[in-house]
Every structure is written in structure tokens, then in C-alpha cells.
């Protein structure tokens, strides 16, 4: 034959985009009904650059190698009672937050990328989204399998599916993904692939996985390493999709900018859960929230947005407020969970003196001035056997669904709240960022299943706190108490051979920080 042989790139093209065809028996808009709904203009899908060229045979080969290794380590971990090697049973609470709050998001990502992989009309984008979809299924399943062993020995992990759908603070991560998935395919992929995976993943995934490494959790850190190459692929997809949309038509720029603004702020609010995990829940700290935000958002994110400036894209709106808030975010969040521990499926505690010193050194502007006195007060109450707890129901932000406890960016003594009026009703939001998001799509956000409103409307089991907690299926007295009163703590002492009889109740954590 005289024709020229195909190069690698052309060969890959034969394996993917050449598989599709221009339909003639059914109209394109019926096969891909979501293409135009978001107002985005795509002129040429052939301009899509495949961010990674992976055929299925290679995919199976690489992924199976990783799975074999991972499961071998999980098995060995279980066999050797590896859970006893973590720094301290307080660490398990980070896993509780992860399994109840984050793993279900991996499932949501699996379904969301399946939808994008079916609805985006270019094969290159379809294949990338479908691969990510099945990767995300991998992540939720391997996380469940990894944490399954911990679930056999610790409380607060065994009902993560029910809790994710029902418990108040888990509506924060849940509504985040519900929001992205109920949008169109382009907004979804901007929200998750770009704003979340590309800009913020180092602030979600990294702290949990590094936290595992620092705290002797071999099983979870192995999962983390195993998922790293998947994450790298997902991040390249995030950047490609942004550049593709921006290069296709100048009219796309303001739409994409608004999505970036929205999803940056949504993501930042979601990360408040991570901030308290980093600063308070890890017995052995990796870095402070403030250091992480400076490194991964201010520096790395700043460089990224400089690079995107040539497309007419600027830094996400209100990013300055996140910098102003760095000194307060984790402390205010932890305070809320500590005072509402009775309604949470994990344990809280007050930091030890050495941890207070660490916090003071990481937050010289704020910790000793605003938070240490409060913590010392709580500790005193604990010592008197009168643990402080707040039985009232907080007002929630209509957008991010976090209780309205954040303070104004320029004044840590004033609670920040904003009000919008829509069709004669008032809606409250926690910040300028959340208010903007509400005001742009009020019809969407008035639908929010706000946990506190739902309780008051009688949709959560009854009128008393106890009935609501039963409806949450919180194992009361076991899952929802302060750490020093918990079964996790007494079991830990038993398993580690630290005689519980000789431990007095008011000095419970002499065993920690090993």
C-alpha cells in the first residue's frame, strides 16, 4: 500500500475521536440535549487537546497493578491490627470526617463525570470524563475498603451513607456536589475538574493523606499514594477544559469567570471542614491551615491565574477575603463543632498545652488574643465536669449551608451575615461570596434542603433534640460525645495496655501525642 503509516498521535485519534460520526437519523440536539443550555459557544470539538492519551488496554494494565498493590497492603494492615499503630485514637476522627463527608463525594463525582461523559458532544472530552468517572468509583470503593477495618474497632464510621444524606453538617459537602451535578455539563466540569481538582485538590486530598502519613495510618496513606496518579490525570483534564472553553469563543469568558468565582467560593467554604481537621484533629500536625492556604492557593493559585490572564480571566472574586480569614477559619469552625458535639458523629476536644503553643506559633495574630482564652474557659468547665454545649439550632447560610458563625473579614468580633430578598422572602447568607451566588440563581438556592429549616418544619423525626438525633441515627452517648468521655478513648486505653483504672477522668489525654 502506498499510503503513509500513521503516527502515534493519529493512531490514538483512530482509537477515540474517529469512533464518532455525524448523525443523520436523529438530530444532534436530541442526542446531546444539554449542549446549548448553558450559553457556551463551542465551534470546533476537534480543537480539544486530549490531556492524556490512554487507551483502555493501557488503562487496565496500570490500574490493575495499582489495585493489586493496594489491596495487598490493606490485607496486611488488617491482619496486623495496623489500627493500633496510629498516633492516638483522636486521629480516627479525621477518618470519620473523611468517610462521612468526602468519600460520598467521590461517588457523586463518579456519577457527575458519567453524565458529562455522556453529554459533552466531543469524543476526546467524553473519554477523559468517562475515565475520570470510573476512577472516582475506584476512589470511593477503595476508601470504603480501606476504612472498613477501622470501622470494626471505632465508632462513628458505620453509618456513613445514611449520615451523609441526613446529618446537618454533611449537607455542606452534599449540597456542594448536588449543586454542581444539577447544573449543566460545562459548569459541572468547571466546578469539579477546574475549581475543585485543579485549584483546590491539594487542600483537600493532601491534608488528609499527609495527615494519615504523619499519624501512622498506613492503610489510608497507601490509598493516597495509589490515587495520586489518577488525581494528576484529573488535574490535567481540569486545565484543558478551561483553556478549551476560553479558546472556543470570547463570549465564553464572562460565563467561565462567573463559574470560577462561584466554585472557588463554594470550594473555599467546603474546605473549612479541612481547616479544622488540619489544625485541631491531627494529633501530629502536618502544617497549619494558614500555611497550606498560603502555599497552595495564594502562591500556586496566584501563578495559575497569572497564566490565565491572557484569556481575560482574573483571580476569583473575594479571594482577598479568604486571605484575611486565614487566621480565624479553623478556630471558628472547631469552636462550632466543639459546642455542638452532641449533634456530630465524631468526637471533639480541647487542645493540650503543647498544641496550644503550636497554634499560637502558627497564628500569632489571632490565637492567643481571640481563641486561647475561650479554649481555657472550656477546659476549666470540662475539669468541673460541666462541658460546654450549645443546644440551640444555628441559622444556616442559604448557599453553603454552614452555620452563620464566620466573622467579618476585617473584624473578628462581628459575625458576618448578608440578607437578600426574593419574592417577598428574606434569605440569609454568610458572606459576600455566598450572597452573590444566591443572588445570581435564587430559584436554585431557595430549594436548598436546609437542615435547620427542615427540623423546624418537622421533617426530621420530631421537635426535640433527642428525636432529631435519633432520626440522624446518631448513636447517642457513644458517637456524639467529647473525646475524653468516649468509648473510642476507653477502648484505645484498653487495647494499648494503658490501664484505664489508673487514669483519672479529668486528665484523659496523657496517653496522646506519642
Amino acid at each position: 500500500m502506498s499510503a503513509k503509516k500513521l503516527g502515534l498521535r493519529e493512531k490514538y485519534s483512530k482509537m477515540t475521536r474517529d469512533l464518532s460520526w455525524e448523525p443523520s437519523y436523529q438530530p444532534m440536539e436530541k442526542i446531546y440535549p444539554q449542549t446549548e443550555m448553558e450559553g457556551l459557544k463551542i465551534e470546533d470539538w476537534d480543537k480539544w487537546e486530549d490531556p492524556f492519551r490512554l487507551t483502555m488496554d493501557a488503562y487496565w494494565k496500570y490500574q490493575a497493578e495499582k489495585e493489586r498493590k493496594l489491596y495487598a497492603i490493606i490485607e496486611a494492615f488488617a491482619q496486623n491490627n495496623g489500627q493500633l499503630n496510629v498516633t492516638d485514637a483522636r486521629y480516627i476522627n479525621a477518618l470519620k470526617l473523611f468517610l462521612n463527608g468526602v468519600s460520598p463525594l467521590e461517588y457523586a463525582a463518579h456519577r457527575g463525570f458519567a453524565m458529562a461523559g455522556r453529554q459533552l458532544p466531543g469524543v476526546g472530552a467524553q473519554v477523559a470524563c468517562q475515565m475520570q468517572s470510573v476512577d472516582e468509583l475506584r476512589h470511593v470503593q477503595t476508601q470504603v475498603h480501606t476504612i472498613s477495618h477501622y470501622n470494626k474497632y471505632f465508632n462513628g464510621l458505620d453509618d456513613f451513607r445514611h449520615k451523609h444524606d441526613n446529618v446537618w453538617y454533611l449537607s455542606v459537602p452534599k449540597s456542594f456536589f448536588d449543586d454542581a451535578m444539577t447544573a449543566g455539563p460545562f459548569e459541572f466540569i468547571t466546578a469539579i475538574s477546574f475549581s475543585f481538582e485543579y485549584v483546590l485538590t491539594n487542600l483537600l486530598f493532601m491534608p488528609f493523606m499527609s495527615g494519615a502519613a504523619y499519624n501512622g495510618d498506613m492503610a489510608t496513606v497507601t490509598f493516597g499514594f495509589s490515587a495520586q496518579s489518577d488525581e494528576a490525570r484529573h488535574m490535567t483534564l481540569g486545565l484543558e477544559v478551561i483553556k478549551f472553553m476560553l479558546e472556543q469563543h470570547p463570549d465564553n469568558v464572562p460565563i467561565v469567570q462567573r463559574w470560577i468565582d462561584k466554585w472557588f467560593w463554594r470550594g473555599y467554604r467546603l474546605l473549612s471542614l479541612v481547616s479544622m481537621m488540619m489544625d485541631y484533629m491531627l494529633p501530629k500536625k502536618v502544617m497549619s491551615w494558614k500555611e497550606a492556604w498560603e502555599m497552595y492557593f495564594v502562591q500556586n493559585g496566584g501563578a495559575l491565574f497569572e497564566d490565565l490572564a491572557r484569556y481575560g480571566i482574573r483571580m476569583p472574586k473575594y479571594w482577598e477575603q479568604t486571605v484575611a480569614g486565614m487566621d480565624h477559619l479553623s478556630h471558628q469552625t472547631w469552636n462550632t463543632f466543639y459546642t455542638h458535639n452532641h449533634a456530630a458523629a465524631f468526637h471533639t476536644w480541647m487542645p493540650e498545652e503543647d498544641e496550644m503553643q503550636w497554634l499560637a506559633s502558627k497564628y500569632p495574630e489571632s490565637f492567643d488574643k481571640y481563641y486561647r482564652p475561650r479554649w481555657e474557659h472550656y477546659k476549666k468547665l470540662e475539669e468541673e465536669g460541666k462541658d460546654f454545649s450549645n443546644p440551640s439550632l444555628p441559622m444556616l447560610c442559604q448557599t453553603c449551608q454552614i452555620p452563620m458563625f464566620y466573622t467579618e473579614a476585617d473584624d473578628p468580633t462581628t459575625i458576618s451575615y448578608r440578607v437578600s430578598e426574593y419574592k417577598g422572602d428574606k434569605y440569609h447568607t454568610c458572606s459576600d461570596g455566598c450572597k452573590d451566588i444566591f443572588d445570581h440563581e435564587p430559584e436554585k438556592y431557595i430549594q436548598a434542603w436546609l437542615p435547620v429549616h427542615q427540623i423546624f418544619q418537622g421533617n426530621c423525626g420530631g421537635g426535640s433534640l433527642e428525636e432529631v438525633l435519633d432520626w440522624y441515627r446518631l448513636n447517642q452517648g457513644v458517637e456524639n460525645v467529647k473525646y475524653h468521655l468516649s468509648e473510642d478513648f476507653s477502648n484505645w486505653k484498653k487495647w494499648k495496655g494503658l490501664d484505664p483504672e489508673t487514669e483519672s477522668d479529668d486528665e484523659p489525654r496523657q496517653v496522646s501525642n506519642g
Binding site: 488496554d57 493489586r68 456519577r111
Partner: protein, 334 residues
């Protein structure tokens, strides 16, 4: 910190997660498949109606006419979750790779007569577009279906179909010495040649089916249930008898895949059919609706291989499918 685990008394507090325990019974250890599957999909308190389907919730049982008391009544007989699926495929991929290099190194496809090489190129290569359509259809089910027990299977199957489309493309590249000319011709045929138009119309019609369970039945039971035996059993056999036995080495993945995949398809249909008379009637009516269309679409393709015997071959395949349906799914073929 060193710990002496010999002295540590570590009795588990529980065997598995609540949503798993509720379905498998108290104090039973759960399998990896069960923990990775049962109740994994969100079920309640969705926040916003989708912009793309404001009549339904984000996850909604009403996107199909099939009604189930429990969407986790479905069980995959292969017990696939991501890990077991990808490890199974990697093994098959490994032997497929060896088969491809064996055939390529010895140039075994050249042993076929030109006439039969042409048959293979004419029939096999346009099917990569069918595989791509099947990929999208499976992903439609994963997107809008209800319950992880089914939707994860179509995610795996969707990726499998992309893999098969890629294996078919490689066969085309072996046949034409890596120029892509045969694949271009095959695409031209798919778009224009009379032989392929009813099948292409069928694929495009499937791409707009709204009820995800109907699509599952039409694609994975009716279409695949006739197409795979036609191509990867009957045609492979005919090609083998005509000097092309090496082709079977290149399509081994496909025939193995079908033998394995029909097990979950059968189990899924059987569970749905046994749930209620209404489900059974609905499934039956979908089968009756799609079967004649599939038959008509496959006939011209079969004729390219079996000429005047094509109708008889399809009749036999229909009988086999009917036996399979009755035995494995408790359903009938009209």
C-alpha cells in the same frame, strides 16, 4: 511507639457498615463486593432540581417504568467492583496483547484469501462505531440509572465497549499495514453504504431513548444478544473455516467478554422480572419492540458473510436467545 500486640485484646465491635449489615444479616462479615456496592448511591434530601430535568430529583426512581422495592436486590454474579473488574480486564488484556503480537509478527492475517480478508474488513471494522454507541448507551445508564448495583456495571461495560472499539480499530490497522485506509473506508460504509444504514439508524435511535432501563434492555440484551453471537461465534467460525483461524485470536477478548457479560445482564433482567407482573410486562414489551428492529438491522450485515443463508443464521440465533431468555431471565422472545 512500639506495641506488643500479643497482649492487646482487640475484639471487633462490629463486622461491617450498617447499610450492608441490614441487607446481609447480623454479624456476618461482608465481602468486598458488598461493601463497595450496597446503598452506595445517595437516596434522600436532594437540594436542587436539575436544570436538565426539573421534573425529577438528581437521583430519581421515576426515570424508568421499572419499579423495584429495593434497587439493591440486583446482584452481579461476577461480584465486580472496580478492583476486581480492572484486574480481570488486565489479565484478558495481557493475553490479548500476546495474541496480537503473535498474529502480527507472523503476519498470520495474510493467510486469509483476499476474498475473506475483504469480508472481515467489511463486517468487523464498521462495528467499532456500534461499540462507541454502546459505550455511550452504557454511560447513559450509569448517568441516570438508580442504584450502584446496576450503574457500576454499566460503567464497567461502557469502558469495556470503548476497549473493544479500540481492539477492532487495531485489527483494521493490522489489515492495512497501519495506514488507516481500511478504517476510513469502514467509516464511509457506516455513513453511506446501504448495508449499514438500518444498524446506524438503530444506534442513533438508541442514543435518544429516555427510559434508562429500556435502553439497558435494548442495547445489552436484544442488540448485543444477537450481534455478539453473530459476529464473534458464527462469523469467526466461517472465517476460521476459510483460512482465517488467526482472526479468532484477535477477537478472543470479545467472545470471552460476551460470555461473561451476559451473566450480569441475565441476572439483572431476571431480578426485575421476578419483582412484579408489571415489570415483566414492561420488559416483555420492550423486548418485543426492539427485537424486529435489531433483526432487520443485522440482516444486511449477516448477508455479507452468509449470503442467502443469513436469514437462517439469524433465525437460529433468535432461537438461542429465546432459550437463554426463558432459562436465565424467565422472559419470552416474541
Amino acid at each position: 511507639m512500639q506495641i506488643d500486640i500479643k497482649t492487646a485484646d482487640v475484639t471487633p465491635l462490629r463486622q461491617t457498615f450498617k447499610h450492608v449489615q441490614e441487607r446481609i444479616g447480623d454479624n456476618k462479615p461482608a465481602s468486598r463486593y458488598q461493601e463497595a456496592t450496597i446503598a452506595l448511591q445517595p437516596e434522600a434530601n436532594f437540594h436542587y432540581r436539575p436544570y436538565w430535568d426539573s421534573a425529577n430529583e438528581l437521583y430519581d426512581k421515576n426515570r424508568t417504568a421499572i419499579v423495584m422495592e429495593d434497587w439493591y436486590a440486583f446482584r452481579d454474579p461476577r461480584q465486580f467492583y472496580y478492583g476486581s473488574w480492572t484486574i480481570a480486564r488486565a489479565k484478558q488484556q495481557d493475553s490479548t496483547e500476546r495474541n496480537f503480537s503473535f498474529v502480527e509478527q507472523r503476519d498470520l492475517l495474510s493467510l486469509m484469501s483476499d476474498e475473506w480478508r475483504q469480508v472481515v474488513a467489511d463486517v468487523l471494522l464498521p462495528l467499532r462505531h456500534v461499540e462507541y454507541g454502546a459505550n455511550l448507551n452504557n454511560y447513559y445508564v450509569t448517568s441516570y440509572g438508580y442504584g450502584a448495583a446496576i450503574t457500576q456495571l454499566t460503567a464497567f461495560a461502557g469502558m469495556d465497549r470503548l476497549g473493544i472499539a479500540q481492539y477492532l480499530s487495531r485489527i483494521g490497522l493490522i489489515l492495512d499495514g497501519n495506514t488507516g485506509e481500511l478504517l476510513n473506508q469502514a467509516k464511509e460504509d457506516w455513513l453511506q453504504a446501504e448495508r449499514w444504514q438500518s444498524l446506524r439508524r438503530l444506534m442513533e435511535d438508541l442514543l435518544v431513548v429516555e427510559d434508562w432501563f429500556e435502553l439497558l434492555v435494548a442495547q445489552t440484551l436484544v442488540l448485543d444478544g444477537l450481534l455478539y453471537p453473530l459476529v464473534y461465534e458464527r462469523m469467526d467460525k466461517a472465517v476460521s473455516e476459510n483460512g482465517g483461524s488467526s482472526l479468532a485470536m484477535l477477537t478472543e477478548f470479545m467472545s470471552e467478554w460476551f460470555g461473561e457479560s451476559k451473566r450480569w445482564v441475565d441476572a439483572t433482567l431476571k431480578t426485575a422480572a421476578q419483582e412484579s407482573e408489571a415489570n415483566r410486562e414492561q420488559l416483555q414489551s420492550w423486548i418485543n419492540h426492539w427485537l424486529p428492529k435489531v433483526e432487520a438491522a443485522l440482516l444486511p450485515v449477516a448477508e455479507r458473510v452468509f449470503e442467502s443463508e443469513a436469514e437462517d443464521v439469524l433465525e437460529e440465533l433468535k432461537t438461542e436467545l429465546s432459550v437463554r431468555l426463558k432459562k436465565k431471565c424467565t422472559l419470552e422472545l416474541s
